[in-house]
């Protein structure tokens, strides 16, 4: 049995690439499904072999891209416990939170009959992950059926749950991208009596993810 560490394989980087690509698609789709922006800025594309809606607004696309670029070093080091897409009302109070709870195995153990060079992740493994991510995307695309309408004029932000010591992994990227991050205050985080709606859980050899929505009980301001 060969035990491979995350470091040996540059494993964290592969997982971070996969997850950030997925989160980008997921954020675009959430903004479309939850009608944060007008449907006219979205175009149908195919991701994970399913149709999704992606924004074609350059500034919004850049914003989402820069956000995830800053989050990536945390995911790479397995330091991002949760990535949360928060939809806020006009008063900047959260009305919905799409919580992506991420965990990665620290070690990957693979049984081999004889010592041969190991290529990880294999095509089969990636194909399995893609299949699981597709299921999550499909759940997001129909989540409006289980959520109340949001009040008009909503906006969004992305929160990352991490540890204080891990924030240094972000610093270089923040400077390069001129995209600084701050510690969230109570208003951004607190939601009164949220209703919890589990959307999907996925478990693969390289990443586990749970997606649920926290919805404010009274959405009207």
């Amino acid at each position: 049995m060969t035990t491979l560490t995350r470091q040996d394989l540059n494993f964290g980087q592969v997982v971070a690439d996969i997850l950030c690509e997925f989160l980008e698609v997921a954020i675009h789709l959430i903004l479309y499904v939850r009608e944060v922006y007008p449907s006219g800025i979205f175009q149908k594309r195919k991701k994970y072999n399913v149709p999704v809606q992606m924004s074609c607004h350059p500034e919004l696309n850049q914003y989402i891209h820069d956000t995830l670029h800053c989050v990536k070093p945390l995911i790479e080091k397995n330091d991002a416990e949760k990535v949360v897409v928060v939809i806020m009302d006009k008063e900047h109070h959260p009305v919905e939170r799409f919580v992506f709870e991420i965990s990665q195995p620290p070690l990957l153990s693979i049984r081999h009959p004889r010592p041969t060079p190991i290529r990880i992740p294999s095509d089969t493994l990636l194909s399995h992950v893609e299949q699981l991510l597709r299921a999550v995307i499909l759940k997001i695309s129909v989540c409006d059926a289980v959520l109340e309408n949001n009040p008009p004029g909503c906006t969004f932000t992305v929160l990352v749950h991490t540890r204080e010591a891990a924030t240094r992994n972000m610093e270089k990227v923040q400077v390069i991208k001129d995209f600084p991050w701050i510690v969230a205050d109570e208003q951004e985080v607190h939601m009164q009596e949220p209703r919890l709606i589990p959307l999907k859980t996925m478990t693969s050899d390289i990443v586990k993810m749970q997606l649920y929505v926290e919805e404010r009980a009274q959405k009207a301001s």
Partner: protein
């Protein structure tokens, strides 16, 4: 709101968010309107 502290050696849980805001709905609506007008003009040529 507290700024990220580079010298912090603690390992407490923190929740971070970007300083910059996403483009506002009004800004996006203006862009969409301008794009529609541009496409309309292009079709008229």
């Amino acid at each position: 709101q507290a700024q990220l502290s580079p010298s912090s050696a603690g390992d407490q849980k923190v929740i971070l968010l970007p300083c910059r805001s996403a483009p506002s709905l009004e800004r996006v609506q203006l862009w969409l309107e301008a794009r529609k007008q541009y496409e309309h003009l292009q079709r008229g040529r």
